[in-house]
């Protein structure tokens, strides 16, 4: 068990280093360095060049950059000069709340719907759930967000527009979790159907267990395995999706600051946020992998 996890861990570390390197060199494709095309005074530019050792050879810069990263210093935003660490400290908790709520909702509701559908296979409820989930996976997240905002905030006024003082997370969480929820539902349905068709379910029934026990003790556990493997990509989806949802609902999270940074071509900010989110995603993937191996004894002992 520890060997596989160790291998996974090494792989994740390798990926993070790869991302750091990629980010660094991609940003240096831009001719003349990140600060050349900005309307900065010579003094500022010189100071920035000094600050980032832009006058040093590329390879030295690379190692200095890695050193800075290890210390946890992400630099300053070139549009407003604020420390990026500070921006992230303020916006990250908001995004975290939003993301965690969306992931939980998607996983839990998706599993429940999928299991229900599988249990009622071929009946009305199954068809309804299947139809709704198929339909939902065809709606882009921004269309859904706008629709929710337009109908429930603007027209019906059921929910207030988000502000830092009175944050209302209901609609953003809903908008963010819809797609992964629909996906999880479909996944849970197929994997539950597969689990229900297994021989050990027949054994459990032949034992005389009630259908509830068969479902929850024997089938559900097995059908959860594919859902856990999907949790990794789901987190990636939530991270990228949060950029759109946060911008539309005007939430001061890390996603919307990322989009702002892209529009403003704020390179240091783009670089820092990409790195942060990428590392976050890699770590989450690693956690899912470990979780998956804890749940399935077959992998644990192989």
């Amino acid at each position: 068990m520890s060997k596989t996890i160790f291998r996974r861990f090494l792989l994740s570390l390798l990926t993070i280093i790869l991302i750091c390197t990629l980010t660094f060199f991609v940003m240096h494709i831009i001719p003349g360095g990140p600060f050349q095309q900005k309307k900065l005074s010579d003094v500022t530019r010189e100071a920035l060049n000094e600050r980032y050792h832009l006058n040093e050879p590329l390879i030295t810069q690379y190692f200095l950059y890695l050193k800075g990263l290890l210390k946890g210093d992400l630099g300053v935003s070139i549009t407003d000069g604020r420390s990026i660490n500070e921006i992230i400290r303020l916006s990250f908790p908001i995004s975290c709340k939003l993301g965690l709520a969306a992931v939980s909702l998607a996983l839990i509701a998706g599993t429940v719907f999928g299991t229900l559908a599988a249990y009622q296979k071929g009946k009305f409820l199954d068809k309804l759930i299947l139809f709704l989930s198929t339909f939902t996976t065809a709606i882009p997240s921004f269309v859904l967000s706008i629709l929710l905002l337009f109908v429930f905030c603007v027209k019906l006024k059921w929910f207030p527009i988000w502000s830092i003082h009175s944050p209302s997370y209901v609609l953003p969480v809903l908008a963010l979790s819809m797609y992964p929820m629909a996906y999880t539902t479909r996944l849970a349905r197929t994997s539950m159907l597969e689990a229900l068709g297994q021989d050990y379910i027949r054994t459990a029934k032949a034992k005389g267990l009630s259908s509830g026990k068969v479902l929850f003790r024997h089938a559900l556990r097995n059908s959860l395995i594919p859902i856990i493997t999907f949790a990794g990509p789901e987190i990636a989806y939530i991270v990228t999706g949060s950029m759109v949802v946060e911008s539309i609902f005007n939430i001061a999270g890390i996603g919307s600051s990322f989009v702002t940074a892209i529009t403003a071509r704020d390179y240091t900010m783009i670089m820092a946020t990409t790195l942060l989110l990428a590392i976050l995603m890699v770590i989450m993937n690693l956690i899912c992998d470990i979780l998956y191996q804890v749940i399935d004894p077959r992998i644990r002992y192989d």
């Binding site: 198929t134 337009f150 995603m281």
Partner: protein
């Protein structure tokens, strides 16, 4: 044979009871065969088509897609406006034709029609810059389709290449490719697209390169990322499929009979992978269309004035309360395309490859 002797013997007897007794005669082989109902044997392909035709959702989606393709092919020929053309009447700019509702005309246009002239209706109204919205949506759909198909082709080619090398040759090549696949799997692709778009925007000049010149660097980086990162799941699929096929005895037999690798791949392995390839390519298109619309939304989509469904929706968002139609049309088209492709892909999968269920 014994049975023939038995068969012919009683016929010599001309008893009145013969009718009754004949039931105890032995049945002939052809009589037995006629009793046995056999399912007509059909090829895998025909069977798949038959199943697909029975799947009403998939067939419906197929027709929706065909209609949509027909519209985006022929509409630019029929509609007298162009996607970046600001509406004019008799060579003069029609200032009133701004943000028109679907199927309405501006005051100038009404006057023009009243003079007995023909003016093609604005099926979806006009946008804030006095351009016909229908033709913009048509071009947006064209772009989205093109991006989707092109991106999934890239994925298919790269994935097929690495997947078949890894699957067929195995050993070190397989190990190396699969390690790379493992790493790429954990790289957050969307972030890399964003990063590349931002960087390439500043550093590459696409002037003079046909098609790409109009699409812009953002699309180039999207294709790049698709080619660099998205092929991994396709490669894994194909590798797995090849490994399964390779284990079949008929492939071993062909190999033992001295067949060349190329022949084995073409005759045995590819036909068995075909269904999986078609299905996953079909399902790759909507995902690419989604990615494009997403990128357009965060401002990294196709280059203006070329419209894409995502950028149209993005532009319309600022005026959603006043001109909701401009938002609804492109969004609806995206949903329809993605839904139909997904349903068609699912139908294809069920029809041709019942094993491949996700």
């Amino acid at each position: 044979m014994k049975s023939e002797a038995n068969n012919t013997l009683p016929k010599k007897q001309l008893f009145s009871l013969q009718q009754d007794l004949s039931k105890w005669e032995k049945a002939t082989d052809s009589e037995k065969a006629s009793r046995e109902e056999m399912g007509a044997s059909v090829t895998l392909f025909k069977d798949g088509i038959r199943k697909l035709k029975k799947n009403r959702l998939a067939m419906g989606s197929f027709f929706v897609l065909v209609i949509m393709l027909a519209v985006i092919l022929f509409a630019p020929i029929i509609v007298p406006y162009s996607y970046d053309e600001i509406l004019t009447i008799n060579g003069e700019r029609d200032i009133g034709a701004q943000n028109l509702k679907p199927l309405t005309f501006s005051e100038t246009e009404k006057a023009y029609i009243a003079q007995g002239n023909f003016r093609f209706p604005h099926l979806m109204g006009t946008d804030s810059q006095c351009r016909d919205y229908f033709i913009r949506v048509v071009y947006g759909t064209r772009i989205s389709f093109m991006v989707g198909i092109f991106a999934s082709l890239i994925v298919l080619i790269v994935g097929l290449f690495f997947g078949s090398i890894a699957g067929y040759f195995g050993g070190f090549a397989d190990m190396l490719i699969m390690r790379i696949v493992d790493i790429i799997y954990s790289v957050p692709d969307m972030l890399i697209i964003i990063l590349l778009s931002v960087a390439l925007n500043e550093s590459i000049n696409l002037q003079g390169i046909p098609v790409l010149e109009n699409l812009g660097t953002n699309m180039l980086s999207m294709f790049l990322v698709f080619g660099l990162f998205y092929w991994v799941s396709m490669a894994r699929l194909i590798r797995g499929q090849i490994l399964t096929v390779k284990q079949n005895d008929y492939v071993t037999a062909a190999y033992n009979l001295g067949a060349k690798p190329g022949w084995i791949i073409r005759k045995h392995i590819l036909p068995n992978c075909l269904s999986i390839i078609i299905v996953s390519t079909t399902l790759e298109i909507p995902s690419a269309i989604f990615t494009e619309s997403y990128l357009s939304f965060i401002g990294l989509g196709v280059q203006a004035p070329m419209p894409s469904l995502g950028s149209l929706a993005n532009t319309a968002m600022s005026a959603i309360t006043t001109y909701p139609f401009q938002m609804i049309f492109p969004s609806l088209v995206i949903c329809l395309i993605v839904l139909s492709l997904n349903l068609l892909g699912d139908g294809l999968r069920d029809a041709f490859d019942p094993k491949l269920k996700r």
